[in-house]
Amino acid sequence: MTAPDPGAELRDGPDLTGDALDARLAETWADKPGLIGWLRTVDHKRVANRYIVTAIVFLALGGILALLMRLQLARPESGLISADRYNQIFSMHGTTMMFLFAVPVMEAFGVYLVPLMVGTRAIAFPRLNAFSYWLYLAGGIMIWVAFLLDIGPEAGWFSYVPLSGPAFSAGKRTDFWAQMITFTEVAALAVAVELVGTIMKLRAPGMRLDRIPLFVWSILVTAFMVIFSMPAVTLASSMLISDRLVATQFYNASEGGSALLWQHLFWFFGHPEVYIIFLPGLGFVSAITETFCKRPVFAYPLMVGALVTTGLLAFGLWVHHMFATGLPRLGYAFYTAASMAIALPSGVQIFCWIATMWDSRPRLELPMWWVIGFIITFVIGGLTGVMAASVPLDLELHDTYFIVAHFHYTLIGGGVFPLLGALTYWFPKMTGRMLGDRLGKLAFVLTFGGFHLAFMTMHFTGLMGMPRRVYTYPADMGWDTLNLISTIGAFILASGVLIFVVNILLSLHSGTVAGDNPWGAASLEWATRSPPAPYNFRHIPAVTSSTPLWEETLPVFSGLRVTERELLLTTVVEAKPDLREPSPKPSIWPLIAALATTLLFIWSIFSPWAVVWGSIPAAIALIFWFWPKNPPDLEKEPVIE
């Protein structure tokens, strides 16, 4: 076998740099213009932008459902929404927010930022990335079309059996929900694999494990949590759909099945899910805190240890969702202890951020407002979590508005506030323009104020005994005023988010031009243009510290091919240069494969034979996806077509 001559192909280096290099790289890495180029793209930034925009649309839809519920509950005995419609609305609200907004948007930030932050040209397995987006989009559209046709889910976002089983949920409502799970979990798992591959192998030379940005660490832990938790819900929902379609008996207690089997499998996923949403939020906070305090986050090894510990402990406390089902005493004790223990790594991180701010002069720019909003809100949510970890109190509070208040404090405080801070912080990188400051501050004040008005109140509504998921309540319970306040708060919160989105739209066109590094940040995504070129960096950066852009210069490596898509692979621990591997070119096959998979998933709602016949087009699409498109040219170095 003749080895190709490395000297035969054009590479970056002292003789090819600057504008000439940009032009050459753009030719190799840019998508073709027009619709076909748009559909074929495998650029992680374009795919991530789609993910983020789609997720924000679902946030808006889920938010509208929340407002409808708040309108219904604003006064007692309201006849605005029927009980059946209300069931579908709260089920869709939870489903949309968890599966179609929160997890996808967090992973999308990973997809956008991780390759830039580790200093590489593309994400690992970029076609899988494109495939995952199309699948997620199809699943989201499917469940929303079903909902609008009055076949939306009706048994809550965790679809407890037997309520969701064939005996109590006739028709196809729950089946659409179960297949929505399949769509979104396959997409989320695909992204997790890409992120693990990118973080393990594509880091810039010198980015040792102890120099990885904390955000990237948070995404790595999150990706592993996705990998270990999502199979549980996929398995559970497949078993549910087969109980409903082909009369298996997994959850049928009269034939040896068990309703608790569902709860165990669901919460083995469902609890880590909360941390899958929250850990990237912690990563955002670390990145923003570092930049605006102009110093590395205090106690880096402790921060990493806390992320990993949170990830591990998150798998040891799913049973605290099931305290009311009756458990052995030892089970109560163990899961109470684990649920309280997870407050420790969260507390460590809170104290490390406070120490970072204490030890510096933080600049109170807009992203920092969200960080402070996060700290206040999340600490309250964390404390009510410790309260609910105690079994006697949990039995009292279970299924009341106290729990609704608690998890909105953790998810909105721990997830959405950091996310809005992250959008503000990375907006200039993603669009080239700054997000408007005045509207941004107004959005923060309304969101933060409206949130606490709506949800602080719910603690008291819950303590006074109001159960969640009731479509109305009698007038003499003493809940009227509290509910009205919550409704007013919800509308203020929604107006804040609306202004945030309006601010984005205005700033896209008239925001101040940002430049490469408007905040003076230290991590590699700020070392390139805003928005970044399709190839991310001209040359592969060389990292000598955990804050590379705060060093005097950022040295680079030369020698990757510029006429073909090529990546540098480095060693896992030390990040020493090891291999050059080609990166896949754009392809239409991920879209076709996603369409074939969509056919398979939707068909199998109606017939078990879809699993047989529907697999064939999907398999054919996957084979075309992988099969090389041109005859081999062994004189040249490898490409992936």
């Binding site: 199979p231 078993m239 298996t248 008996q249 099945g257 060389a542 950022l554 680079v556 020698g559 081999p632």
Partner: protein, 203 residues
Amino acid sequence: MSSQPKFSGDLAHLPTYGFGARSLTWWGVIAFMMIEGGGFALAAGAYLFLMSQETAWPPASYPPALLPGAIFTAIILLSEIPNTIIKKASEAQQLAKVRFWLVVIDLIGVLLFVVRAFEFAHINVRWSDNAYGSIVWALLLLHTIHILTDWVDSVVLTALMFTGHGEGPRRFVDVSENSLYWRFVWLTWIPIFALLYLVPRFV
């Protein structure tokens, strides 16, 4: 970035392929193994959970017939011999050897499906009879899908190795990782075999 950056090294001399943990493919394969391994572990957990609710296991039938399951297990364990030959030959980039043994292992796959059909025929319970029947069918079906997907993958790879593409070194990496995945497929079978065939008899 300034127009004339400071170069601290050149990457042109690096190889364009590497086996095992050096390659991105390996990491993808390992990640998918974790996903599928997790899925199987949870399904096994569901089996044990359902078993713990019953006084007799199987509740109202005979366990699956041992012979087809034992034959299947013997064949899939022996398939590691050609699998190891393929893995070593691919890492030594011996094309003719890789081609021959890939065809052999694809044929072994066909044999496995035939035996698997007998396993289903002698499972001694319907999926709709009770939760025991459901989980037994689920485990056997999941593992069948597992071998089916890897078999299709192997056949496509075999075809690819018979084209001119087979001479590219990166294709040998694909073959090597495919062999790694096959190891995972038969390793996951061992606990499933124990659950389906041994636990109802001996526990």
